[in-house]
Amino acid sequence: MKDHTEAHKKAHRARPPPMKSYIPPEFVIEIDDARCIRCEVCVRQCSYDARYYEPATDRIMTRDQNCTNCNRCVVFCPTQATRIRYNPMSYRNNSNWRPENIKTVLRQAETGGVLLTGMGCDRDYRIYWDHLVLNASQVTNPSIDPLREPMELRTYIGRKPDIGEIDLKSGETGLEYPNLQLEMPVMFSAMSYGSVSLNVHKALAMAAKEVGTFWNTGEGGLHQDLYDYGPCTIVQCASGRFGVHSEYLNVGAAVEIKIGQGAKPGIGGHLPGEKVTKDVSETRMIPEGTDAISPAPHHDIYSIEDLAQLIHALKETTDWKKPIGVKIAAVHNSAAIASGIIRAGADYVALDGLRGGTGAAPKIIRDNVGIPIELAIASVDHRLREEGIRNRGSIIAAGGIRNSADVLKAIALGADAVYIATSALVAMGCQVCQRCHTGKCPWGITTTDPWLTKRLNPQIGQERLVNLLRGWNLELKEMLGGMGINSIESIRGNRHHLRGIGLSNEELRILGIKHAGDY
């Protein structure tokens, strides 16, 4: 074990920087010497090499500049001897040259490249969820008690007929379009194999199966071991076409064409070669150790009619038995684009907002491109209704959904269901330290290093995910019941149950809601 640790450390020891870094450490690692028992758990847990044991002084020493504040050491220290603080050393107050801006310039001056980061946009753009409040029944209609009465969350994703065709004599119904049946309107969003570990995929697949919902492969194909989970899997087809073949397309319950991602609208996926292990290379169908960089656009889709052709081709491939969806990043003209997508024959459109997560994205794009998901849901739902085509496709909202209230607010604004990814990773241990792109995730999530990936036990991951969804499920039912609603379809697009707090008239108009206190 010890040898392994040493080997690992060697492999992961950061190469000396080409020049002296002028960036002060962001965090300070503190160790309470009275509590520390020199067990070296923290040393072994830290994949960033921020700690080492110094036998000469019999002390744990730290390299603060390497610390990402991932909390792995804090959580695993058996004596609670360690904690991480922000480095109190600060720059002179300046509203313009905030520490973040100074450090970014320094980092760029030292590396000369596009700065990468992980997770969703962390800037303080307005988070509309936190400015929306929900309604409840009082007196004039009774709230419904979910402990004592049925409460329905079942949701269908896909096209619905505009007019019900029913043969009254035989009771036969008309044409049914392929739909996904969700037992609750929450799915796991796309995270590719390679950006996350196989154990993460396993946990997601098992949890989706147990809960009766779906998980999404992301753009890196589906590992052979997980083909059994096909019926609860949405397989993705992105611009790199990694791991896309006929068997893959047919094993899933639905196929999703990935046009864009909220964290990096306008550019393709990026998997650093360090993460492309043998298994990943086989699944993605690319050589081991090579960067997997998806083209920015699909080079067979330069316009909407090309998208219609790909949708059609995928429908043909899957024998018209599976819904074909299209995922786009929420951008300024999402409403018109979504309308085009639905008219092109897609069964659902997935919108990924400004705060959508990523395994690796240029920081400048993540933090500056796209629009908040709340506004995108409202405008897309409104536009599709205005054009009378809302029945033709479902809306899935993604990007920045943190709890069950966010889910309900998204649905009340007009989404059919939501995708969660960061929440799911957090459930499995992620502390949102934003270093996914390094491939060294100490929690064994966004890494393919075998020494790290075994830190996530798929069964425990599944249990934690199922617990999270069960909790949300119960909370959704409580909130719905409080509104006097016993079925999720009666809140979908029902903006009467939303009010805004502290929003401008323009924001209220776009969201299609009133201000709190207005009746």
């Binding site: 079942r154 209704r385 609603i485 016993n486 029902n494 108009r509």
Partner: protein, 395 residues
Amino acid sequence: MTKEVHQISRRNNPYKEDKVSEACGLFGMMSTKGRVFDGTAAIKAIMNMHDRGNGLGGGFAAYGIYPEFREYYALHIMFMSKEAKRKAEEYLPEHFKIIASEEIPHDDKHSPPDPPELWRYFVSAPREVLHQELKEQDNYVVKKVMEINTDISDAFVFSSGKNMGVFKGLGYPEEIGRFFRLNRYKGYIWVVHSRYPTNTQGWWGGAHPFSILDWTVVHNGELSSYGVNRRYLEMYGYHCTMETDSEAMAYAADLLMRKHGLPVEVMANIMAPPFWEHIDRMDQKKRNFHKYLRMTYGSLLMNGPFTIILSHTGEMIGLTDRIRLRPITAATKDDVVYLASEEAAIRVVEPNLDRAWIPMGGEPVVGKLTPQAMQMHEVSGHDDLRNRKRRDDGP
């Protein structure tokens, strides 16, 4: 919400309410043999439920009252200003052939305060529409009624069917009944509503029944799903100008039964569907059927408490929400079907009932004219209805 919708609601919802919630009393009676009787019994029954209303709205719908004009649309219009009447009377001849018009007879001595001007016009569609199918004529009238209600401020068409009429206003229903002298009309269906709005000052147009063509709805309840029902209906060209649940109900019924040609039982399955846990246990055919309905018409699930009495030529239907959060009692005596919020209201007009029962949530009670009676009261060439009868003849 679009600018357009804002404008519409500003014109027709003077108090700018988001949604009117209310509790109510309702009563309906129908002779399935098509015998006609005056409004006295309906007034008596609703008086017995006086406490279910608060005087902020009462109204009646009566079927079979204009036999001499049975092939013409009877437009009942209220004018809140002289200007509105002038504009409407310019508009009407441009878009309809007017057969007769008069002020709706009323009793000024028993008038509730500030009644609007109330007129009725018996009209047919213009010649170019007349030779089209009846369904097209109906659609034409719906469109024109919507136009008047949205484009002419202070004018409001509150009844537009053939051989039927809605009479409603601000006051207790018994006052409204006396005001309109309903003891002078004879119909085979009488439906009446007493309103108890909780958040409105009330206005004449906001009283029940709500009506489009010969469809009327009286309604007790507050739909928690109103926002989605309304937005779904907007996609099909219905604009809920009065912002009340009942209006949404009326439009939903019109869409499902008239436009989509679905029978009442299917409509009941859409508005008050069985729960998934029940559907999952049905045999495959039934399971597919209900799944198909819920997938297609999920946005017309009427969630939250409601009881409605929905009527159109030849039919009166009672329905409660799927967990029966509002009361309804049904009863029969010979050829008469009764529906009421309270059994006492039925017994006050007919103490010796053959049968009285409380229907299950989501289970419709349907009163239907017999085929002979239907011939008697059928409005001219009511195409749609004949189709439905044919279908019902099947197994």
